[in-house]
């Protein structure tokens, strides 16, 4: 089971857990509908579309309303700290949650208590909290952009807004050096998917793949295009692919979906997500080198 955890920008949205359905521009969890915007909704939408294409179980989502006050995030941390072992997700995705180091530690302790530790994926503020709390090495995948890669490389920074200026001046081409620093400082997950004009897949300190095509610079401007990559990685991982293959396929698919959508700076994220089935249908076999069925995870 894949469990996606994050916040929704509706203060009155109660802590909810359940199977997610995606339809066009919105998600539904139980009887509640959520517009598919930047953030956890975009990640979840991409994960839903990908799992549906692959014919595997849709994601479960643990969502709560939080407009930034942190109240919903604290409920979510508390729930995960108590309930991860019985939930026993195979893949755990931590996303837009107010980054509080002490509370992230409790979640990681809870994950350690699972009969089998989940495959742990973090992006956005959950990645910030994991790195700042010194927990990065407990994670299997981080999906930073170029700025966040510089943040991971800064040994002392606890948020990208406070990282060293010389690191912020880095660009995507300096990812190899920044990744090396991050691994040296134990501030990186086992695998990094660094998103940018060049996507880097870095596994345990070694760059195993770079992806540059198709080149769609407009994707950087569109809110949610980083979130969708993380959702696709999680879905492929949930379907049983190795992390490195999941990451490579996700980076390729996201770019190609941008091309199919004719991405422009004003595009909306659901327009990109809507293209994913066609991208998979037309390219997945070639990218994988075969059309063999995915090894479907059973749990």
């Amino acid at each position: 089971m894949m469990l996606i955890c994050g916040t929704i920008p509706q203060e009155d949205f109660p802590l909810s857990i359940g199977t997610v359905k995606f339809s066009g521009k919105s998600l539904t969890v139980g009887a509640r509908e959520i517009l598919c915007l930047q953030g956890t909704a975009a990640l979840t939408g991409a994960a839903c579309v990908t799992t549906e294409y692959l014919g595997v179980n849709p994601p479960q989502a643990l969502l709560v309303g939080d407009r930034g006050t942190g109240k919903g995030s604290r409920l979510l941390y508390e729930y995960l700290s108590k309930n991860l072992p019985p939930l026993a997700p195979r893949v755990l995705v931590l996303h837009y949650i107010l980054p509080v180091m002490g509370l992230m530690k409790k979640v990681c302790e809870s994950a350690q208590r699972c009969h089998q530790k989940p495959i742990m994926i973090a992006d956005a503020s959950s990645m910030y909290a994991a790195k700042a709390a010194g927990l990065a090495t407990r994670f299997d995948v981080f999906t930073p952009d170029a700025c966040e890669m510089a943040f991971l490389a800064d040994p002392d920074a606890t948020h990208p807004a406070y990282m060293s200026r010389h690191l912020f001046d880095s660009d995507i081409t300096q990812t190899p050096e920044l990744a090396a620093k991050a691994y040296q400082n134990r501030s990186a997950a086992r695998l990094l998917l660094v998103k940018g004009s060049v996507d880097y897949i870095v596994e345990e300190g070694k760059i195993i793949e770079t992806i540059t095509e198709p080149d769609i610079p407009e994707l950087e401007a569109i809110g949610g295009t980083g979130d969708t990559i993380t959702g696709i990685v999680a879905a492929f991982t949930s379907a049983g692919l190795e992390l490195n293959e999941a990451a490579i396929l996700a980076a390729r698919a996201n770019r190609m979906a941008g091309r199919y959508a004719r991405a422009a700076p004003a595009s909306r994220i659901w327009e990109i997500i809507a293209q994913l089935p066609a991208v998979f249908r037309e390219h997945l076999c070639a990218w994988r080198g075969s059309c063999g069925e995915m090894m479907v995870a059973t749990r």
Partner: protein
């Protein structure tokens, strides 16, 4: 009060410190923040960071934007908010990328893209704090000249970075020759 509210501060690691000139200001600030349900803890500031009294407040650094706004509203005086480790200065620099008909301004981990002809906000990307999807929904399609600044509605450091991108975008827009 949830289980992680003000009474569960033991071991709290928020990563940020508020420094004060005197103890009275620190006590008042603690009271104001607790009343607003912020996680806070009175601590002794490390000697190297001390800039006034012997009391400081540990906060979740990411909540700096909301805390500063609350202090303005409640007339709470403080010296500064700083991270407990690392660079003590917020990133000031911004980067600009021109898409032809649109301009993207990056500040820290946040990016704002606006239409060069109309001055409307086309997109917001980057970041990862819980207030960003809300600000995204609030700001998209608004004119830069009419939109409410992100720091007025946001709570986090991501919102503060977005505010910097917004201010820079507005300055660029104001300098542009209009058709």
């Amino acid at each position: 009060m949830g289980a992680f509210g003000k009474n569960k501060k033991e071991g709290f690691e928020g990563g940020g410190l508020i420094l004060f000139r005197n103890v009275e200001e620190a006590i008042k600030a603690e009271k104001v923040l607790k009343a607003a349900d912020y996680m806070v803890k009175l601590v002794a500031p490390p000697p190297l960071l001390r800039k006034g009294c012997d009391l400081a407040l540990e906060i979740a650094l990411v909540e700096q934007t909301g805390i500063e706004r609350l202090f303005r509203e409640k007339d709470v005086h403080y010296v500064e908010i700083i991270p407990m480790k690392g660079s003590g200065e917020l990133l000031e620099i911004v980067k600009v990328k021109d898409f032809g008909e649109a301009m993207m301004v990056k500040a820290g981990n946040m990016k704002l893209t606006f239409d060069k002809k109309l001055g409307t906000i086309l997109n917001i990307s980057g970041g990862g704090c819980p207030d960003i999807p809300y600000l995204h929904a609030e700001l998209i399609d608004k004119k830069l000249t009419c939109a409410i600044r992100p720091r007025e509605n946001g709570f986090t450091l991501c919102a503060l970075m977005l505010d910097r991108a917004f201010v820079e975008s507005l300055e660029i827009w104001n300098r542009m020759e209009k058709p």
